[in-house]
């Protein structure tokens, strides 16, 4: 099986999943008692105006007719227009996704850089002092709500100490966004050599990224430890030890065999985080996809919710494909299998 075959198969498998998720979302939105027509019309709207809005949104038609129309447009790449802002949903997503990804990916990178070594170190001596402390820290990361720790951090680092800038988005008001290359303000401003912009962007990014990386690192520590312990207890590591190999060499063998499951785990975790980051975006007024999606759910903007859920699903599919390819690269035993 060639790489192209593999990718094609994966993409074909995605279609029914996306359809299922789209249908489920479509149905949940419509059986609920959230009334977008009344929300759009406002308290002053009369019967006729409400009926007009309902007709315009297509909500007066039969459920399956509505769904058919939506899927038909979807097939041509048309996500429709937001009911609240009348902007095209696809444009909104394109404009906001980079902000979320910038925050998410930097936090995952930082979380993995801290979490993986800590997990490996914990497994070296299970139930030792380091392991106990790491376990507690990891449990704390599991238990602390993102939004609360964000509020606490804003109080301490912005209000009390004045180290952090006000939590009002990705740049301060005096700075213009850099030329759009990757969508990340930090990377773009470095690429174009706008150092003051880069400094501002990094300053705005620091607090949310550090906070989110705590949440990201907690499960990474736990699973890296478990995976590493399993590898260390395996027959081949015991064999390597009994051969009298140096501890450093044994550790290298163990590490080499832990990488793939750890990577796969980080991938699985990543898929849920695009939704989880939305609360942090809300608090830091980040203007990202999550904040927009959250708002869409609360205001009954069905078209936007639909697009948001679709992006989340697509994102997790993309992550899995990337992880599969990475595993292929790192793991000599892995072959292309459907």
């Amino acid at each position: 099986m060639t790489l192209r075959h593999f990718l094609r198969r994966r993409l074909l498998m995605v279609v029914p999943i996306l359809l299922g998720i789209t249908f489920l979302t479509f149905m949940l939105l419509r059986i609920g008692d959230q009334d977008p027509v009344a929300m759009l019309g406002g308290p002053m709207a009369d019967e006729a105006a409400l009926a007009e809005i309902e007709r315009e949104l297509g909500l007066d038609r039969q459920f399956f007719v509505q769904f058919g129309i939506y899927v038909g447009k979807l097939a041509t790449g048309d996500l429709g227009e937001s009911w609240q802002s009348s902007e095209r949903v696809a444009d909104e997503i394109r404009n906001r996704l980079p902000a979320s990804l910038e925050l998410l990916l930097s936090a995952v990178l930082l979380g993995a850089l801290v979490g993986v070594p800590v997990g490996l170190r914990s497994a070296q001596r299970p139930n030792g002092v380091f392991d106990q402390v790491a376990r507690f820290v990891s449990l704390f990361g599991f238990s602390v709500p993102t939004y609360w720790i964000a509020l606490m951090a804003i109080f301490v680092f912005f209000f009390l100490l004045g180290w952090a800038p006000p939590p009002l988005g990705r740049l301060d008001l005096a700075t213009f966004p850099p030329t759009d290359i990757t969508g990340s303000y930090l990377v773009d401003s470095i690429l174009t050599g706008q150092w003051s912009t880069a400094r501002t962007a990094a300053g705005q990014l620091a607090l949310p990224v550090i906070l989110f990386s705590i949440i990201v690192a907690a499960p990474i520590i736990k699973h890296t430890r478990a995976i590493s312990l399993e590898v260390l207890g395996s027959d081949y590591v015991r064999y390597a030890k009994s051969q009298g190999l140096r501890p450093r060499t044994v550790r290298r063998i163990a590490l080499r065999n832990s990488i793939t499951p750890v990577l796969t785990f980080i991938g699985t975790e990543l898929t849920g985080l695009l939704a989880a980051v939305s609360l942090l975006e809300l608090i830091f007024a980040w203007g990202g996809l999550g904040q927009w999606g959250l708002n869409a759910i609360l205001t009954g903007d069905f078209a936007a919710v639909q697009g948001y859920v679709l992006v989340l699903a697509l994102f997790s599919v993309a992550v899995f494909v990337v992880i599969d390819l990475l595993v292929l690269l790192l793991e000599p035993r892995a072959t292309l299998r459907p």
Binding site: S143, M152, L274, A275, A276
Partner: protein, 297 residues
């Protein structure tokens, strides 16, 4: 076997409750700490109206946003309510959500897992696939959508959380049943002519549920967390109900201006109880599966 005499077993020499408690504490300090934390919160929840100095929505309109001090231990909020009393009453909502949603998770998840594991074939396949679709949704989005769509009451929040977590128990129980299905006691039960439901619920259930006990505590932690998150976003339970997430939401606007106590204390309570449940679950796993401690699985 007609003359069966039942004698109460003589107490094991040297058995004392203190000894037992100390033994468990030594074997898993994690469990002991978690249990203690949860027990304290349970006590607070049970006697909130006796031990809290004020009512949860008792308003002192002339004493708005007073910092923590001798009158209001945790300060007063923007409505002039006592944060300390409200945090204590919040414990009731935490348990009021965690316990019923755990029951729903089990009532839906466990029978499905039993049947899917025991019957196998098509039923297994259908149950597993539908659970997969449910799990592939980011749970916070699904919870938000459902609660936003089906109305904002405590019962809805509990139902949604229970439904979302049921698949976890289905999977756990199913894998246990798969391992037990071909064991001797099941074969004998079939040979003795037991109906399927009896085999499932009398013979298999007690053996298959063991692996799920630790998970119950962990999912209760999640239930408390996610319900608070929903309230913080503004769906689900609304202020001035003394629910911790709703209280943090109230306090969020005061953080920038320096009135930190309104959001801080409900958050500390929230972290405390969630940490307690998580420690409890982690420790239970140590106690129930001693191998895990060594292998870390």
């Amino acid at each position: 076997m007609t003359d069966v005499t039942v004698t109460t077993p003589a107490p094991v020499p040297g058995f004392t409750w203190t000894g037992r408690i100390l033994g468990i504490t030594r074997r898993s300090p994690t469990f002991a700490i978690g249990f203690l934390i949860v027990a304290i919160f349970a006590f607070i929840a049970a006697f909130a109206n006796v031990i809290s100095p004020f009512g949860p929505i008792e308003t002192f309109s002339d004493k708005v946003l007073i910092p923590p001090g001798s009158e209001f231990w945790f300060g007063s909020d923007g409505n002039g309510m006592d944060v300390f009393s409200r945090v204590m009453h919040g414990a009731r909502f935490a348990f009021g959500i965690a316990v019923p949603s755990a029951i729903i998770m089990l009532v839906i998840g466990v029978p499905l897992g039993l049947i899917a594991g025991y019957k196998g074939g098509m039923i297994d396949e259908v149950v597993l696939r539908s659970m997969d679709v449910l799990r592939s949704f980011p749970s916070i989005v699904l919870a938000l959508a459902v609660v936003a769509a089906t109305g904002q009451s405590l019962i809805n929040v509990v139902l949604v959380i229970g439904f979302l977590d049921a698949p976890i128990f289905t999977r756990l129980v199913r894998s246990e049943v798969l391992a037990l299905r071909s064991s001797g006691f099941v074969d004998s039960a079939v040979a003795a002519g037991n109906p399927t439901w009896r085999i499932l619920f009398v013979h298999l259930l007690p053996n298959a549920i063991r692996g799920s006990t630790a998970m119950i505590a962990v999912r209760m932690a999640w239930a408390v967390r996610i319900s608070a998150t929903l309230a913080f976003i503004g769906v689900g339970i609304q202020a001035p109900t003394p629910e911790w997430g709703a209280m943090i939401r109230q306090g969020a606007e005061f953080i920038i201006s320096g009135e930190w106590w309104v959001a801080t204390f409900p958050g500390v309570a929230l972290v405390g109880i969630v940490l307690g449940f998580n420690l409890l679950g982690d420790g239970l796993q140590d106690l129930l599966d001693p191998r895990r401690k060594a292998t870390g699985k």
